[in-house]
């Protein structure tokens, strides 16, 4: 036991919650529990006793066994070697745990998150001169962490001082000192390639900045209709089977972020395996390298201890902030925040706290808000600008969006991608409901789209949404009185909406071509469907029948264009659009001749 450690005893065990006697322990301090040495955290103090939550199953633990206070709160190790790894909810490396305890996770295993043996090639930053004063977050050197990510070694956010030593370029282990600082109080402090940070404390930054560019995910319903900015916060709520996980995995695969952190919080083990097995083979569409090179997984599957589930999203977001501080755009996917909230509820229930809505404690809303608030685009302490984009899946019981977690989340986020059971049942994927979803980022995203893709973007987007809204209205009429009651123009509106739905909104994650659409392809498909609709509407006004237009063999090609032409073949989509223009012009001409003839 080192100097900062204190020993006490266990008095009561109630599932994952223990009562211990340990005078002088701090709230939030980590503890080692019993003979097994289980991991835990102090969550409340009462005189000399403390309540502890255990990250591991407490089976076999007895009253009277010792408990040791470790003198520090739950922290993560931050340094090179994080990318490509899979950690559990308290940042234990699961591949190392596998070697230590076999196929099933053992208890009381304490392993460092980062590999201590691996050598990293460190290149000191030339600007960091000996004798200069370094501020928190300042760059002192670089390590090539993966093929695409250069890991920037920073002065830890809570340190500053005069640089006494800086190691020359060379190979270093994580525990090797690479420099030394003289702090303001005169003490000197060694710098290493990694440092630790408590997960429940947001990492500091200089100031908040505005989000400017949209996160491109390659998913048409997201990018074109309900855009999210880099540094934004969004939620994906949906009942089971609506496709939350596929939406999240698609974002993990195709988004134009530098780093993707996927937190499987209380979800299925096989889903993480899917990512683990496929990502090392998939190519990042932007860098051309393997997706795993920019991905990091935190796995607390639904059968792992519930308390560690509560910690897992904090572990995830702290690592996200760490890469943000290096100037990267990070996407954090939390699947699912409902399971995190349930973990909160379980612990509060065991503590006997007064439940408010559906058994959740009164602090649910404030905890959720505080968590989402850690997203954002910031000016970092030392490296320019970085962002954390937070995308949380929500699993409302019975698909009821008025339940507490969905309702509170909706108040906090800026983009809401609502999944619908009806769409999923009809196998309309992604089953994102265009009526229930919203984005507060449309105006900002429009600036980017107008500059990069087409000045027509916002108008076309609005037109498509308008068409979809009229479609819903007309569908109600059809259901009451049958399709015969509609005028030709109205029936053509239904056809136009169907084109948008099939040709733009529906996107197959399984189809190798359709799975990703570049912004240009997204816009061209939208433009094509609306051009067909607009030109068709003109013809129908002249008196041409809807049937004549729907019977055009070109129509099936328009619907299939998303799968036929890849993002590199945008010129072919343009050519198809031109074919439509000509075909419609021809019909108009023939019709005019016919009219002339009959008159």
């Amino acid at each position: 036991m080192s100097k900062s450690e204190k020993q006490g005893i266990i008095r009561e065990i109630n599932g994952p919650i223990l009562t211990i006697r340990l005078p002088g322990i701090r709230n939030g301090e980590q503890v080692k529990i019993g003979q097994l040495g289980l991991f835990g955290e102090v969550i409340a103090l009462q005189g000399e006793t403390a309540l502890v939550q255990s990250y591991e199953s407490t089976e076999g633990v007895r009253p009277g066994e010792p408990v040791i206070g470790l003198g520090r709160p739950l922290s993560v190790e931050l340094g090179p070697g994080l990318l490509g790894s899979i950690f559990d909810g308290v940042q234990r490396p699961l591949d190392k745990v596998l070697l230590a305890s076999g196929d099933h996770i053992g208890r009381g295993i304490h392993l460092p998150a980062l590999d201590r043996e691996r050598l990293w090639h460190f290149v000191p930053e030339p600007a960091s001169e000996i004798g200069s004063t370094l501020s928190p977050g300042q760059l002192i050197g670089r390590v090539q962490e993966s093929a695409i990510i250069q890991h920037r070694i920073l002065v830890p956010p809570d340190l500053s001082g005069e640089l006494l030593e800086l190691a020359p370029e060379g190979e270093y282990r994580l525990d090797d000192p690479i420099g030394q600082l003289k702090l303001s109080d005169g003490r000197s402090r060694k710098l290493k390639l990694y440092h630790e940070w408590p997960v429940r404390a947001p990492r500091p930054y200089r100031r908040r900045d505005h989000g400017l560019s949209p996160l491109i995910t390659g998913q048409r319903i997201l990018d074109t209709f309900f855009p999210l900015l880099k540094g934004g916060k969004s939620a994906v709520p949906g009942p089971f089977g609506a496709g939350k996980t596929v939406v999240q995995q698609q974002i993990a695969r195709w988004s134009n972020a530098d780093i993707v952190i996927y937190v499987g919080c209380g979800e299925r083990g096989n889903e993480l395996v899917d990512v683990l097995e496929t990502f090392p083979q998939l190519q990042d569409p932007y860098s051309g390298h393997r997706l795993m090179e920019r991905t990091l997984l935190v796995a607390n599957t639904s059968n792992m201890p519930v308390v560690a589930r509560e910690a897992s999203i904090y572990v995830g977001i702290t690592m996200a902030e760490y890469y943000r501080d290096q100037g990267y755009d990070v996407v954090l996917l939390a699947d699912s925040t409902s399971r995190w909230a349930e973990a909160l509820r379980e612990v509060s229930g065991r503590l006997g706290q007064m439940p408010v809505e559906d058994g959740y404690p009164a602090y649910l809303a404030s905890r959720l808000a505080a968590f989402y608030e850690r997203a954002g685009r910031v000016e970092t302490q030392g490296c320019g600008k970085g962002s954390v984009t937070l995308i949380g899946a929500v699993s409302p019981p019975g698909g009821d969006f008025s339940e507490p977690v969905t309702a509170h989340t909706k108040e906090i986020i800026q983009t809401f991608w609502a999944l619908s059971k009806e769409l999923a049942d009809a196998r309309h994927y992604p089953a994102i409901d265009w009526v229930g979803s919203f984005s507060e980022h449309v105006a900002t995203a429009a600036q980017w789209w107008h500059k990069e893709i087409s000045p027509d973007w916002q108008r076309r987007r609005g037109q498509a949404l308008g068409l979809l809204a009229r479609d819903a209205e007309l569908a109600r009429i059809v259901n009451l009185v049958g399709p015969e009651a509609l005028s030709s123009a109205q029936r053509w509106e239904l056809e136009g909406a169907a084109l948008i739905k099939e040709g733009v909104l529906q996107q197959s994650a399984l189809d190798p071509v359709d799975t990703f659409a570049s912004p240009e392809k997204q816009f061209l498909l939208l433009e094509m469907m609306l051009t067909i609709y607009d030109r068709g509407a003109e013809l129908i006004e002249l008196g041409i029948s809807v049937q004549e237009l729907t019977d055009l063999p070109l129509m099936a090609r328009a619907r299939r264009a998303k799968q036929t032409y890849s993002s590199e073949q945008c010129d072919k989509i343009r050519a198809l659009m031109e074919e439509f223009r000509q075909a419609f012009a021809k019909i108009r001409l023939e019709y005019a001749k016919f009219k002339e003839h009959t008159q």
């Binding site: 008095r11 899979i86 089977g241 097995e277 229930g349 049942d425």
Partner: protein, 459 residues
Amino acid sequence: MSAREYRTVSSAQGSLLVVRQAPAVAFGDQVLIRDHRNQLRHGQVIRCSEAEALIQVFEGTGDLDLENTWVRFLDQPLEINLAPEILGRIFNGLGKPKDSRPPILSNVRRNVNGSAINPAARTYPREFIQTGISSIDGLNSLVRGQKLPIFSASGLPHNRLAAQIVRQARLVDEESSFSVVFAAMGVSYADARFFQEEFADSGVLGNVVMYINLADDPPVERLALPRVALTAAEYLAFDLDRHVLVVLTDMTNYAEALREVATAKGDVPSRKGYPGYLYSDLAELYERSGRIKDRHGSVTLVPVVTMPSDDITHPIPDLTGYITEGQIVLSRELHNQGIYPPVFISPSLSRLMKDGIGKEDTREDHPRVANQLYALYAKALETRNLAAIIGAEELSERDRRYLHFAEAFDSQFIGQGEDEDRSIIETLNLAWELLSMFPKDMLTRVSETDLARYHRSDK
């Protein structure tokens, strides 16, 4: 094991017993309770402090008095003996023989709570299991290591469907059949008997191990039963390299027992009185299925959930659906029309299907055919609703085609005999027969090649 018995019971209520001045007993320990007639009961420590221990008694505390009750702490968690001889046997929820045969002797003892499979040790399930049932094989394929529940309701033939799956399930290119772990919680004697006879008739009895807790057996035992059964399944799969199919019926009875105990303990209720940890508790069971790297065996899980009042948003089916990899939903409407199995495909889903089907596993057109059938059926149901309002005669030619399709689909594709074992190729050919009711240009979800090869218009 300590031979000391404590006579310091201070309260007995429902299934809970409080023992004062107990020594340092461990959380989760097994307990033996001797009552005034010298009868033994089994229990487990569910809360313990320096002063007292709270014990959950599997057989309940009925007929106990505080004076003449002796409690012995066994100093070990709930464990069972495992050996290949468990196959062909019947046990109760605690793993004790229920078939008047001797207990299993073995030096393999396992803690029934298991521990979580390390996600890094798992391998993704992708081998197609042919159940011979078109609505499952064709549209909601089951793969080895998957957990795919049957969502049913009272009066629907979920037991017959589960029995048919057990009878017919096999891998397409492997001869080896499944070993079956059958776990029944709170089922009626008639249902238990039905399964026993089914297994006997189809000659698989020697390959089945049964854990049975009948409707009149102690409810608390239902909490231990699936854990005991899954421990046996893991042993068969990962120690003996077998492919194991686990049928858990009925999870609703399990969840109700959990609610009963939780309420007695004073846990804060969440939805419908079920404890907040129902999700985690169910996940501890369901997540024990899967495949593990470098192990030959697998655990495939088919839980049966009867939805109270046919309500799919009830906490039990709802939380189950969030954990399992899809669901097979039975419909009362189809059942009333005499269609067996009454699988309602719209809300049914198999999440792992995508990687278990296609060229290598079933046939290259399978994913697209499934997709197309789903799309047509969704449209057909819409048309059916419309027809109910405005009358079928008001429908257009095109819409009437959908109605005919829906009818043929329900009766020929979904409907099949209880002994009818269709190969996946038969299922797909049948699908094309139905798809051919539509002209080629209406089938936009299959490819041109599929149409050329399988569409019946040219043949």
